[in-house]
């Protein structure tokens, strides 16, 4: 009974308050408080010299890289959305969101949801200026989505799908749905030595070193910058 009464009272006060506001013309409070929290976090990279030690880029190269970086991200950090937007501009026909997500995870070494210039340039230094083994390590890190040291078929499937998604719809020959799966199968056939269903880092590096094509492609990165 008292519960009922309490509810009635509450309703009544609400009605009364409504009429009061109606009669006196008080405006409604803004129901949504504007939270003025600074959504843009400014980040300054470490000094040029320090970066030069950490990476294998020359000063001029770092300067060029930073200017490009800052142009696109004036706040100094890239969040995943910006990352995806930038990457999608290079692949207009397909959907590069998934692959960009994996890249972001690979670049964001300290897992704080944003890529600072240091992360960016360290990652680039490994890919562009590292040894072939470094590059293979980095690629393995990219594929290993949960960072447990081995690539499972599911992880590889995700990666493969994301690469195929970048092609888009208009391809020749027409994109079949099983194309990624077949590709994953052939990849595992090549890489998985002991046929245990996962590819470890050693198997990966070993198989890549044996493959002429892969070795040759890895050398492409020597003169990107």
């Amino acid at each position: 009974m008292s519960h009922c009464r309490k509810r009635c009272k509450r309703q009544l006060t609400k009605v009364f308050r409504f009429f009061y506001r109606f009669l006196t013309g008080t405006l409604e409070k803004d129901s949504v408080e504007d939270d003025f929290e600074l959504s843009t976090v400014c980040h300054r990279p470490e000094g040029l010299d320090k970066l030069q030690e950490q990476t294998k880029f020359t000063k001029k190269e770092l300067q060029v890289l930073y200017r490009g970086f800052k142009n696109e991200c004036p706040s100094g950090v890239v969040n995943e959305e910006t990352f995806k937007t930038i990457y999608s501009k290079f692949f207009p026909q397909g959907d590069s969101g998934a692959y960009a997500h994996f890249l972001f995870e690979a670049f964001d070494t300290n897992k704080n949801g944003s890529v600072s210039f240091e992360d960016f340039v360290i990652g680039l230094s490994i890919i562009l200026r590292g040894t072939i083994n470094d590059r293979l390590n980095w690629a393995f890190n990219l594929y290993d989505l949960n960072k447990d040291g081995c690539i499972t078929k599911e992880e590889m499937m995700d990666i493969m799908k994301s690469i195929y998604d970048m092609m888009g719809k208009y391809t020749y020959p027409c994109m079949q749905d099983e194309a990624p799966r077949e590709h994953v199968e052939s990849f595992f056939q090549k890489m998985d030595r002991n046929n245990d269903g996962v590819v470890t880092i050693d198997e990966f590096i070993e198989s890549c070193q044996k493959d002429e094509n892969i070795m040759q492609s890895m050398q492409l990165f020597d003169n990107v910058i």
Partner: protein, 632 residues
């Protein structure tokens, strides 16, 4: 390519490391930057004001003046700077476009001067950012209208060789063209006025004679009024018939509002002529005379303001409709309430709800005649609420109508707004095409160009690497290389929409029947890409298409295979010298040297191969001596 993120291209290319281990074919060779320029500052001297920027900033947009080699024309050797004799203030926004990728339109700038600057520097105005685009378009439209108005004034020159009918029509529509037209215009106006006046005076009581009571002038001076009426109607009829004759499209004219008004104005007279004698219908005939008042509307041909008023009411139809609807609702509500409130009182005028409508309308429009008033207290309370709400309900839509009228009076923008909307859609479509087109069709275009280059090389000339990159900036070639790598990784090619649809049709029709046994028996390091290439070429043996590399919209075969009629010698030379095929390398894609994008594949119709020992890759059909060149 999205030049705004050109600086991130190295990153995008580095990110391709994820594709390398999964690719089954080797990657194409990257374009090299021979001119290994370090990024340098260049000075742009615009009428004395020096701007400095990096060279790569300007290179972002290679199809503008500053981004292309066109700026070399403005290079000054002595001062080592680029001199432009243009307005430095406008140049600021143009340079900012290169820096930020967004073009802004400064408000203080004159629209035509700005347009000229944009045209000079080769920038299309469509890429003005959304923040400034509306303003830009509005200013442009205003300017165009102003120019249009100036032009219209000079347009009324008489065209030679107009037929008599056309002259008449022009005279009717635009009385200022000749004096005859002006005279006609004023005469008709005068007669309209006379007609309206007679209609009015007809009903005025004209002074009592001793014999009869007061009667209206119309009945007293019947003959005179009848003569006046006849004269007016005659003039109107003649005018109508002349307009009908002169109209370029008679059907259109007869449907127009003005002609309907004309007809309605003169019809009652004729009907009256026909049935004067019959007493029964003379009552109806009298009613028809009411239509004579429509003659007043004929004045709208003479008055611009009247036409605009009519146009406004037409355009505000929705607001008027809303006004009417809300009033009706309110009337019904209040009439009901008043009826029931006054039911109790005696000798009340509120006999029924429809009878209360009159009271409600009079009260809501704040007229208050006073012929019906509520007597009970409840009735008075509700009556006051009724009058208060009436003010509100009427007052709300009226300013909208007023503003509409003033808006239409100053400029007619209906047509302009519709045109602007179409332009907006077209603009967005243009931008989309330019952005996607420049990247992907640019890429597809360059693939075809590569094909052409390879063919030229085959026929004997030494290939140069510059040929491949002719006309393409380094950024573009790097971007294309990136897309190539993706194609290789996934063993699919980018095609544009038409070819894709064609291909889908073809795959359902064709079946890969004529596959060479040697292909199928091969195993080893053939990736899926290589066998797919084989599949692709097998259905094409009998089609011999001419060499048309520039044919953009060919069939699928043209994209992938071009035939060359060649003599017997050529197969040998092509198979040996320019290809360097290893016998066990069934990778039909040659990745050595600069032949990165082509392969020579011919259909092995004969199982035996004469030139290369084991590799069934080169074969010529004895019948036609055709070599097929296919890309990738």
């Amino acid at each position: 390519m999205a030049a705004g993120v050109a600086a991130w291209l190295p990153f995008a290319r580095a990110a391709a490391i994820g594709w390398m281990p999964v690719a089954n074919c080797p990657m194409p060779i990257a374009p090299r930057d021979h001119r290994k320029r370090h990024d340098e500052l260049i000075i742009l001297n615009v009428s004395g004001r020096r701007f400095q920027t990096w060279r790569t900033t300007l290179d972002r947009y290679p199809d503008t003046l500053l981004g292309s080699s066109e700026k070399q024309f403005f290079y000054d050797e002595e001062t080592k700077e680029y001199f432009f004799d243009r307005d430095p203030d406008s140049f600021r926004s143009i340079l900012n476009f290169y820096r930020t990728g967004k073009l802004h339109y400064p408000r203080y700038e004159c629209i035509s001067a700005y347009d000229e600057e944009l045209t000079f520097f080769g920038i299309i105005p469509e890429i003005i950012g959304d923040c400034c685009y509306e303003e830009y378009k509005d200013r442009k439209r205003e300017n165009a209208e102003r120019l249009q108005d100036d032009q219209d004034d000079n347009k009324d020159c008489k065209l030679p060789n107009m037929t008599y009918r056309e002259t008449m029509w022009r005279a009717f529509e635009n009385p200022h063209t000749s004096t005859m037209a002006l005279v006609f215009y004023y005469v008709t106006g005068f007669f309209i006025a006379i007609s309206v006046l007679t209609n009015v005076i007809e009903t005025v009581p004209c002074g009592a004679t001793p014999s009869q009571k007061d009667m209206p002038c119309g009945e007293r001076y019947t003959i005179a009024f009848f003569c006046m009426d006849t004269a007016c109607v005659l003039i109107f009829t003649v005018e109508y018939l002349m307009r009908l004759f002169a109209a370029p499209s008679r059907y259109q004219f007869m449907r127009s509002v003005m002609s309907i008004i004309d007809v309605v104005a003169i019809f009652p007279y004729y009907i009256g002529l026909v049935m004067t004698d019959n007493e029964d219908v003379s009552g109806a005939f009298v009613t028809l005379r009411v239509f004579r008042v429509f003659r007043i509307f004929k004045f709208s041909r003479h008055s611009q303001g009247l036409r605009i008023l009519g146009y406004t009411l037409k355009s505000c139809a929705s607001e008027l409709g809303f006004l009417l609807f809300s009033l009706t609702m309110a009337i019904i509500i209040f009439a009901t309430v008043m009826f029931y409130a006054e039911k109790g009182s005696s000798s009340t005028k509120f006999t029924s709800i429809p009878a209360s409508f009159w009271y409600t309308i009079v009260t809501m429009t704040t007229l208050g005649y006073g012929d019906m008033v509520p007597k009970t207290i409840a009735g008075k309370i509700f009556g006051s609420i009724c009058s208060l709400s009436g003010v509100l309900v009427i007052a709300l839509p009226v300013p909208v109508i007023v503003s509409n009228f003033s808006r239409i009076y100053h400029q007619n923008q209906r047509a302009d707004k519709r045109r602007a909307q179409k332009v907006q859609k077209a603009r967005l479509a243009r931008i989309r095409i330019a952005q996607t087109g420049s990247s992907c069709t640019g890429f597809l275009q360059s693939k075809r160009n590569d094909l052409l280059n390879e063919l030229l090389e085959l026929t004997g000339s030494e290939e140069e690497e510059q040929q491949l990159n002719k006309g393409m900036s380094l950024l573009e070639s790097q971007h294309h290389h990136l897309l190539h790598c993706l194609e290789k990784t996934t063993a699919h090619e980018f095609v544009d929409e038409q070819l894709y649809e064609q291909n889908c049709l073809e795959t359902t029709i064709q079946s890969y029947t004529s596959r060479s046994p040697s292909f199928s028996s091969q195993d080893g390091p053939i990736g899926t890409c290589c066998t797919r290439r084989g599949k692709m070429n097998s259905p094409l043996p009998n089609s011999s298409l001419p060499l048309q590399p520039s044919h953009q919209q060919g069939s699928l075969q043209e994209l992938s295979a071009l035939h060359i009629q060649c003599g017997d010698k050529l197969p040998h030379t092509t198979s040996r010298s320019s290809l360097n095929m290893k016998t066990d390398d069934v990778g039909l894609i040659n990745c050595k040297g600069s032949h990165i994008t082509t392969a020579i594949i011919s259909i092995p119709t004969a199982p035996s191969d004469t030139t290369d020992g084991g590799a069934p890759s080169i074969n010529t059909t004895a019948s036609s001596n055709v070599i097929k060149v296919s890309a990738l």
